[in-house]
Amino acid sequence: MSQDFTIPSFKLPGVLSTIGAHLPQWPHSLALATALNVAARVGLLPADSLAQLADRSFVIEVLDAGGVASFTYRDGLFRPLLTVPQAPDLCFQANLSAFLQLLARQEDPDTLFFKRELSIVGDTELGLLVKNMLDAIEWPPLPRLSPFQR
């Protein structure tokens, strides 16, 4: 049962969320929207699922870092939202380590949900669509990162 690297579960110190929450949030939103547009452009995101995201507002909240990214999808592009909507269509909340573990396919989103490390608020069906869309992505093989190898 070996994996090339593992991301440990951790929680950032509380002071970071306080500082983070006072920093401008638009850079996160811009970075995330840009990354999603790249993924869409190279065909990693299926067109039929993308169409169902049109004009919906999304918020990703990294609890222990105090960071919030918000974006929407319109006319074939992910666009950052400069002000975080009060009642987005969908909001995912988790600590940084949980998001990293999800991205690295080290943890299953349902497992994190059962353990209460990931919460989904808003339109549940939209949440399921996004979750399944991310699960269906065929990531190119990760480079072997020697510092993380066991």
Partner: protein
Amino acid sequence: MATRKIPQLICPAGSLPALKAAVDHGADAVYLGYRNDTNARNFAGLNFDHKAMVEGIRYAQARRCQVLMAINTFAQPGRFADWQRAVDGAVDLGVDAVILADVGLLDDSSRRHPELRLHLSVQGSATNYEAINFAQREFGVRRAVLPRVLTLAQVETVIRNTSVEIEVFGFGSLCVMNEGRCWLSSYATGESPNTVGACSPAKFVQWQRSPDGMATRLNGILIDCFADAEPAGYPTLCKGRFEVQGETYYALEEPTSLNVLEILPEIARIGVAAIKVEGRQRSPTYVAQVTRTLRAALDELARDERRFSVRPAWQAELARLAEGSQVTLGAYSRPWR
């Protein structure tokens, strides 16, 4: 050295990466479905379109892993042709078997595709050998998936009285132990696995943050409220907490996952043909973790049954992935009978 024939390992594939994870980690077969209501995991964004289906089947079969297609919902009035098309598509794609529940569809498929291997789905709810032998006699069913209602001794009785292969569940979220006959989702939402292909469909589910924790509502009905850090389960009525005679508790069933590791030698001894892993709705990560754990256990059992013991690492890995973060032997072990 005592070696014995061990059950096949049947793993879930809700997406192409999940299918590849199952194949790469030692599944003997994967099961999958179309992106529509012909299968009981008809969730937004899940399952296979034609292109992914072709690639998935090719990937699995090239690595000597069988592909079973679940077409296990009940044909809805006026739309029988949709289910026929699904079966025809499975034949064209060259799957190794289809998993059906609807008696009408079983009959139709056995007539139009006599060469097609038919499995009776758990949703078909055949819990005794008479029902299974009927499906064999009438439709030529080759394998039946048993609902999770029988004790191990009852499973053995079924196997002794039928020549149909028997598949049982080995790991995954538990139903209310009434598969194929459950009305709870229909009662709350008007939709069910048998009709639309989803239990407690997501469009009816709402999670709300409150000062007490997280409240779960299904079509407006409050079914549970979790304190912070309290393990959660899927938002189905059967796993809700209800007030019964002044006490609020899991009145029907706790959120939990079935795990048969402990009784794997007995399952092999009584002649179970295949062990199924639940979870087409889950990620490639889950599929990889469960498949490699059960593969390791089955391989060890095949090497030497007398020296088989459940490794703590296997149990820990499976418990971690379980719904409600706990596992059970379910109906297999029922000491109170």
